[in-house]
């Protein structure tokens, strides 16, 4: 429409209205319900309504033994299943004051980075879908299937692995593991530039994301945002660097930091993180030391009285596991500080004033997994 036509339009008063996005909506990546207050297409307020997948995991942990708790965390953030398992195992190991062998540490790190890669791949595919590019979905899932096969061979499952146990891991890695991982890295190194060609440099995608949905460094800190969403705003918050666990202290990698903090910056973070993850795996895959796969623990683990906290970096931010033990075989209370919950709180702040379509792009680049938020 020409500018003149726009100005002679009758100056009507617009009214704010209210619309439901979700709980059954493809762009909310699950069953999140957003109560949107809109003025035309402008977002005035975003009010998330949670609980559509609240499965009472924290309460269930109070009835389970420490070994049984691990499998529940698979289902929390199912795209970071290995990392969630690792978090619980590390917290329990902290309580028991046992040291796992180097072999376990290295395998845990490789598995965690493979998980991060597969999570970021899925995120890349669905981000493309959210912004109107269906091809990305097919490309990402083609490559993701290779990681699933690696997991299946060693852990026996494709998605909910439950491979780590307090004190080590269930069983040793498959003889093919190293070969398969190296094959995958060689394959994905040629595919990741393709991802850039396909989506990162796409004009439509750039216009949908560049200069949209800013988050400043101060706001990111005060809302407690973690993960790539916060690092895009320049907040250095990578737990792998700040409080190295497992084998992260013996590998070289860069913490990717953004400068602008817009939607495209948050997108770029994850693409660059995939390169770093591959770099970490490459350093470790040929140097898996020999050693015990499980430290000696009692059949029923009892933690001493006290509180134990462990933080890890999942694919979408900081996961904290807080165990309060009263000396019995189950925890008195167990709390998960899930990254998605804190990241969701900032959506209202970031999306205000932008269009509904931008809200979808903003949501996509914070990468929510709803069972992780609701637990």
């Amino acid at each position: 429409m020409r500018q003149e036509e726009l100005t002679i339009r009758p100056q009507g008063k617009t009214e704010e209205y209210f619309i439901n996005m979700g709980p059954q909506h493809p762009a909310t990546h699950g069953v999140l319900r957003l109560l949107l207050t809109l003025d035309g297409e402008i977002v005035k307020k975003v009010d998330p309504d949670l609980g559509y997948i609240h499965r009472s995991i924290e309460k269930m942990t109070e009835h389970d033994t420490y070994r049984q708790i691990v499998h529940l965390t698979d289902r929390m953030d199912y795209l970071s299943a290995h990392i969630n398992n690792e978090a619980v195992c590390l917290a329990v190991e902290k309580g028991l004051e046992i040291e796992v062998s180097d072999r376990v540490k290295v395998v845990r790190t490789i598995m965690a980075e493979l998980t991060r890669l597969s999570s970021h791949m899925l995120w890349w595919g669905v981000t493309g879908m959210d912004t109107g590019a269906l091809t990305t979905f097919m490309y990402a899932f083609r490559d993701r299937e290779m990681i699933n096969d690696i997991f299946e061979e060693t852990c026996g499952a494709r998605l909910t692995m439950n491979y780590f146990v307090p004190g080590g891991m269930m069983w040793d890695i498959h003889p093919n593991f190293q070969k398969r991982v190296k094959e995958f890295i060689a394959h994905f190194k040629t595919k990741l530039p393709e991802y850039d060609l396909l989506l990162s440099d796409n004009v439509i995608f750039r216009k949908r994301t560049e200069g949209i949905g800013f988050l400043t460094k101060e706001d990111a800190i005060s809302f407690g945002v973690t993960g790539p969403g916060a690092r895009a705003s320049g907040v250095s918050c990578d737990i792998r660097k700040k409080q190295p666990y497992s084998a992260y202290d013996r590998v070289q990698f860069k913490e990717i930091l953004g400068t602008v903090g817009d939607t495209f910056d948050r997108y770029r973070m994850r693409i660059l993180e995939m390169w770093e993850s591959m770099h970490i795996i490459e350093q470790l895959i040929d140097n898996i030391p020999e050693g015990e796969i499980q430290a000696k623990t009692n059949a029923v683990i009892k933690l001493p009285k006290g509180e134990f906290y462990q933080r890890v970096e999942t694919a979408r931010g900081e996961l904290g596991v807080h165990i309060i033990s009263d000396g019995k075989k189950s925890p008195y209370r167990m709390h998960f500080r899930s990254p998605g919950f804190a990241n969701l709180s900032v959506i209202d702040h970031v999306a205000r004033g932008w269009k509904v379509g931008d809200l979808v792009a903003i949501m996509a680049t914070f990468d929510f997994v709803i069972p992780d938020i609701d637990r």
Partner: protein, 185 residues
């Protein structure tokens, strides 16, 4: 006579050449309706949790359920034939699931994918918020066990559903939701 091959080997009828270039198809209404319905199942993506990822994987490059006529995944119930419940149903979600089911056009089918949709799965004991099986809310046609089921398992479940549809007698068919709330089988 090439028409039968064009229609696929499972076409339930006889194609008779009429001589003037046209063809006459002899079949029963039941067979042709079921053939059409079973080969164009549009699924509603109802992914609440982990199983949704395996469902996406089934729809994507390697497993590709488009081969069996299920490629057009709909996010809206009004255009869908089958609802794939991929994930846990909690108390807050149950009325929403029922509403989605009620909004779907007839005939409609339900596939319960994974342990949670079948019985509550890992959240059966000690959980205060999980519905112990989607069949407490809506009638289910096919159950696919697994936590989550592999893509191959989901494919087999969908093929089972196709077989079920092909065996339907449309004159004596009853709507599964009739009497469901009163507890009738």
């Amino acid at each position: 006579m090439g028409m039968k091959e064009d229609l696929g080997p499972d076409f339930p009828g006889k194609v008779i050449p009429a001589g003037n270039g046209g063809n006459i198809v002899v079949t029963s209404l039941d067979a042709i309706i079921n053939w059409g319905r079973s080969n164009s199942l549009w699924p509603l993506y109802f992914g609440t949790s982990c199983c949704a990822i395996e469902m996406m994987q089934t729809g994507a490059a390697k497993h590709d359920w488009a081969r069996f006529g299920m490629e057009v995944a709909r996010p809206t119930p009004r255009q869908a034939d089958v609802i794939v419940i991929a994930g846990t149903i909690v108390n807050k979600m149950a009325p929403v699931l029922r509403r989605l089911y009620d909004q779907m056009a007839e005939p409609k089918y339900v596939v319960a994918m994974g342990a949670c949709a079948i019985s509550g799965g890992p959240f059966f004991y000690n959980s205060y918020s999980v519905v112990k099986g989607a069949d407490h809310v809506i009638p289910v046609d096919v159950y696919i066990p697994g936590c989550p089921p592999r893509p191959e398992a989901l494919l087999e479940g969908m093929i089972m559903l196709q077989k079920k549809i092909r065996a339907t007698n449309n004159s004596t068919k009853v709507n599964p939701i009739d009497g469901f709330d009163e507890g009738k089988p």
